[in-house]
Amino acid sequence: MKIKISRMRRLEALSGYLFVSPWLIGFLMLTLGPMLFSLYLGFTHWNFHEPMSTMKFIGLGNYKQIFFHDPLFWKALYNTTFYSIFAIPTGILFALFLALLLNQKLHGIAVFRTIFYVPALVTGVATVVLWQWILNPEFGILNGLLKMIGIHGPAWLYDPVWTKPALILMHLWGVGTTMLIFLAGLQNIPTHLYEVADLDGASGWQKFLHVTLPMLTPTMFFNLVMAIIGAFQVFTVVYILAGDGGPGDSLLFYVLYLYRKAFVEFQMGYASALAWVLFMILFGLTLLVFRSSSLWVYYEGEKR
């Protein structure tokens, strides 16, 4: 009897492994394998055009070059950080604001929810082309509107001072997904908490501050982590808008620079090192947010 059970278990285990094997093989071959290979490449000099036999091990050479002799690395990091510092909070606040508006119990609210979510469904390329028109200094609708109130609008994507604000503005267009997650979070807040607050005579603002916001912190935590990763990995938008880095390299974002090194200058070793530096930055930031979560994220029923 015992033998029969163990054989059955073995078979069950085998079928389990076989079921996960497509993912496992995919992960090993298409994710972990290339990751480890790129880690090795980061310590080599290899021109992508040349055979792999010409690959030269140079130790920390690429990393030394990145940190001490590459002004464009710092420029790209500055641009990305600048964008992240402004785009992440404004994006989260705007999404929260929209979610609060769309959480009202009104007739036809589903239509509004759809309308506000639709831009998030439009692909990156289409959005960028659309915004190129909106922000065009000559015949763009934004400068047209500004002109109607007597303001001569800036050159937006053609003026190094205005390129990043323009990009932050574009980012707000795509907050639909974040908004939806906030909306789900809002609808998960138990109504009895608001009823108790009403009994205590709390105002709308006090309810928002002391009920909604604390109950929404786990959602905010998730959105924040995703926004940080997303902001540091911005590529499609800047590649289409300014594959060359934009005026005065003001749109040379980190991943665009990495792409340029890998696929325009064919420096695969250097590009791999850049990728690992980005990984470490994102890892550090995510760790920081996770560590800080005990100070500001509230989980119902969690012992403190």
Binding site: L18, S21, P22, F48, H49, Y158, G245, G246, G248, V264
Partner: protein
Amino acid sequence: MKKIWSIFIVSLVLLSLFSVSGCQKKEKSTSKTVIHFMFWGGFQDLNLWKFVKAKYEALYPDREVKLIYVPDNYQDKLSLSLVAKSAADVFLVDDDYFKITAATGHLENLEPYIAQCKDSLHLDDYFPHSLEAFQLGGQQYGLPWDGFTILLFYNRTTFDQAHQHYPNENWTWDDLIRAGKAFSKDLDGDGYNDTFGFDASSSLLDLISVIWTFGGRMFSPDLMHCELDSPQAIQAMQLYHDMIYKYKIAPRSGQLDSKIMQNYIKLLTGRVAVILSGGFLIQQLQTIEEELPWDISYTPSGPAGKFARESFDGIALYRHSKHKKEGWDFIRFVLGPVVQKEIAREGRALPIRKSDAYRWYDNPQTPQDEKIAIRSMEKYGRTIPGIAYQSVVYSRTRNLFNQIILPNADIPKIARQITDIVNKTLTEMRKNLKVWK
């Protein structure tokens, strides 16, 4: 029962895995020799290569050409296929990327093939500089198959309305500025001009012709140093800046961005009277002849004369191809009269031989004189000297060239920065490659 069920599931998973792993395409078993040809371009190019395929296969019934059409990011895909050793037998190479592809050993040396059929190729009839564009270390690793120069395009109606003489071969930059002032107007009274005399980007590829007309050049003759910080080159860059901010005959940065407003629309709408563009624009403008009375002329001259940047498309044979003979036959066929006549008829670029261009490209039925495009290449054509890191140089300096047309641009400083970057790239290239020119 459970055992049978488990065996069934295991078999199903294994079957699906095997079916996924075996999805690499297999060539149909055929007695024909199949050669693969990779190319870039728009739909017109696709049609051209379909035509070539049909004619080639008719000539060689025992062969089949598989077309690999790459409409976008051609160079990335070509590089990947070369590194993966899965490149097409024959592929197009443009003059910017040719040297790095040859210098890294991916291209077959065509000298022995050329030697065998020198008479039928008529290389002495090729446009000047076109063969050099596809040489590395003096050896021919690719062959040019078409080309064009930068030309001046203008709207005849705009000139008529402003009572200006049409541009001609004697036109100088001063003439362009003088005429440009007559076209540049502030139509809505907001203090900014809305129509312009001239428009061209300040990219290196557009600016280099101007730099040459002022006596400047990109590299020293031995290609060891960049000379874009010479007074002549700076003068040319300054001219572009002045045309926007001093003479106000050209749009500010982004005002008429080519990504939003294509060149033919700028001419069609009368927003711009004169543009400089590659000869490929002829094909596009011919389709709107009735709406836009356009014409072509030579690029303006400067103190050092008249020059027009020329560009050639090349074709090469993959060094690891298993069908080199068939591939070489395909290249010869592309350079032969059937295809060259079709290239001329299509009008996107000039056929590669002068005599073919005069015979087939010039169309007496059009109002334009296409001979200008041919003479421009013959008399004034000049190429940027090729180096293996050409694309790297473009990539690293593109942004600085774009800065030339910004309002507060410090032109000498930008020129020095460009020169510095190019010189560093040259040093890097010489360190990494044995043969690079």
